[in-house]
Symmetry: C2
């Protein structure tokens, strides 16, 4: 039996919401690790994290932290990635970056393995992990596109606060408690920590994720639009997005309208395609009230799809409801999955 | 100065979530009431409700309850309306019915005063009040339709639990408390009390409002589709809806995509139209993070619109975010507003 090669893996941002899930996912997948290096910004350095029951002290990430690292999983914010991912590459590491720093860089592949694993071959040291809300949508759209083509996508999202980090989750729970106890609570984190104003998220819905661009769309909406086209290799695809934050801790939901290119698609066909599609679990049985919900998806790697139905006016138009754990398929699992693909293809040795 | 005529008003379903708001709205509007009769199903009869500081004992609604009544506001469920609205009409009352019982009946006008007040002239004793999620959308669409025409609407809703009644609101709060205290809580009401399964609503999103029809759409979605066409007198309008319940007590939000018919519409035009539109408050200033949110709309009669932006692919396509208090403009206020219109037009004397 061939000995399985093991790798020196670094996790950058190990104390964050996604970093924690990355460690857990590496454990769950029994990822072939010879050495684990856990890194963070200066602020979190010195904290301890657990991996396979063993305590690891988080060190401040510096260029030299990446000496000897084979695979570096970054999730410590765009600025950390911009500064340190090239340093890691210089030292021979392959980087899987979960920030927006390199996603739209034309020399960086943006990869969802179920959709465009082959793009990994084009890497120059860095592979970008897409935005959470984009990933789950393209996993559901790709099998439909492959059979019927795709002209147009209009998505409205229902996004969980953990997409904004652990502080946002704490804010949701603390604020909820305060409201229930009729106490006051000053919002400080959501919708965007670094933006001017902060709003109540408990028992509310905030139609802002990330800051606004000059065109009236948020960066989150533009990410969904641009990343979908790049991942699916469909620069002409019409994509529109409205992104909304909900009082849900984990699990993004999406109401997706799409128009296929070819005639003849039926709901039964699309259900059959998605039933067998990689990474997808079909949950679609209205008679028995079976449909995906964020509360059910937490801790699972799959993308759950239901409520598939034909538009009543457009014969090529369909609606579906797509739910996934934004910290797993939306972030940590997709990153680890990319690392597994790199090993499988032989791009990291 | 002419003496203002006053009317004998009956409120049917006076103890419910909407009935309570009807009484409050009649008070707030200083509605010309000579006599108030508060009615309910047998289950709630005997309870006391307050009106202008005075206690009124709720009586079980029977055909004879409507003797001498001028205006009857019904909100006690479809079956009560089906049985008793015709009895009220027989006894000379004009009925404003807030249930779905008569909405799609071709002899019953379905009215949102900002949109089709003139349809009141066609009444045969009963005027139907549309579904909450429909009302706020058509108030925002009508001024756009009048200037630019309208081809297509695709809406995804973010609906509050009070649309399912006071028990649903209690369930949201009790369940939230239980989850925060790590106690168990058995869902009993949502998504649909009379349906087979009940699901957690706290920290979740449920893509089911009302039961499912055979075509895979829920009744709520079909209401939005059919009622929009009827109210706007646009039987050929393309309308699609996905309706989702959120852990929000009061205030429905909607992500609305629409395509106008004529060339030349701009975001600035649409903002200008909505700024002056009846019943609409424009809240649209992304630079200052101004947009509507359910937490801000509670207790207000207006429909709040923001996040207006042009689609990036369809020159005639636009997106907007529409929020309103589902118990007020979505129900009680629209019903009282219809009653005010009936008096103004001279249809009730």
């Amino acid at each position: 039996m061939a000995e399985r090669k093991a790798f020196h893996v670094a996790v950058v941002g190990a104390t964050g919401a996604v970093g924690q899930q990355m460690l857990k996912t590496l454990e769950d997948r029994n990822f072939p690790i010879s050495k684990l290096t856990v890194l963070s910004s200066a602020r979190s350095a010195g904290k301890a994290v657990l991996f396979n029951g063993q305590e690891h002290i988080v060190q401040e990430a510096t260029p030299d932290s990446f000496e000897g690292v084979d695979i570096a999983l970054f999730s410590a914010g765009g600025n950390v990635s911009k500064e340190l991912a090239p340093e890691a590459v210089k030292r021979g590491a392959i980087v899987v970056d979960n920030t927006s720093a390199f996603r739209m860089d034309e020399n960086t592949p943006l990869v969802v393995p179920e959709v465009n694993e082959g793009d990994l071959h084009l890497h120059n040291g860095i592979i970008a992990n897409p935005n959470c809300s984009t990933i789950q949508m393209v996993v559901a759209l790709q099998p439909i596109f492959e059979k019927y083509g795709l002209n147009k996508v209009i998505v409205s999202t229902y996004q969980a606060v953990s997409g904004s980090g652990t502080q946002a989750v704490e804010e949701l729970y603390e604020q909820t408690k305060a409201i229930i106890n009729e106490e006051s609570y000053e919002p400080k984190i959501l919708p965007v920590k670094s933006d001017k104003k902060h709003y109540q998220i408990a028992f509310n819905a905030i139609p802002q994720i990330d800051k606004f661009e000059a065109n009236g769309y948020t960066f989150e909406e533009m990410k969904m639009i641009n990343e979908t086209k790049k991942i699916m290799h469909l620069p002409e695809l019409k994509v529109a997005a409205t992104c909304v934050r909900l009082p849900v801790a984990t699990g993004h939901s999406e109401s997706v309208y799409f128009e296929v290119e070819q005639d003849g698609a039926t709901v039964a066909d699309i259900k059959a395609l998605l039933k067998d599609a990689p990474g997808v679990v079909l949950q679609d049985d209205p008679d028995n009230q079976i449909y995906p919900m964020p509360a059910d998806c937490v801790g699972k790697n799959d993308v759950f799809v239901g409520r598939i139905r034909q538009d009543l006016d457009e014969v090529k138009g369909f609606h579906m409801w797509v739910v996934s754990d934004n910290l797993l398929k939306g972030a940590a699992w997709n990153s680890v999955q990319i690392a597994e693909s790199l090993i499988k293809i032989g791009l990291v040795k």
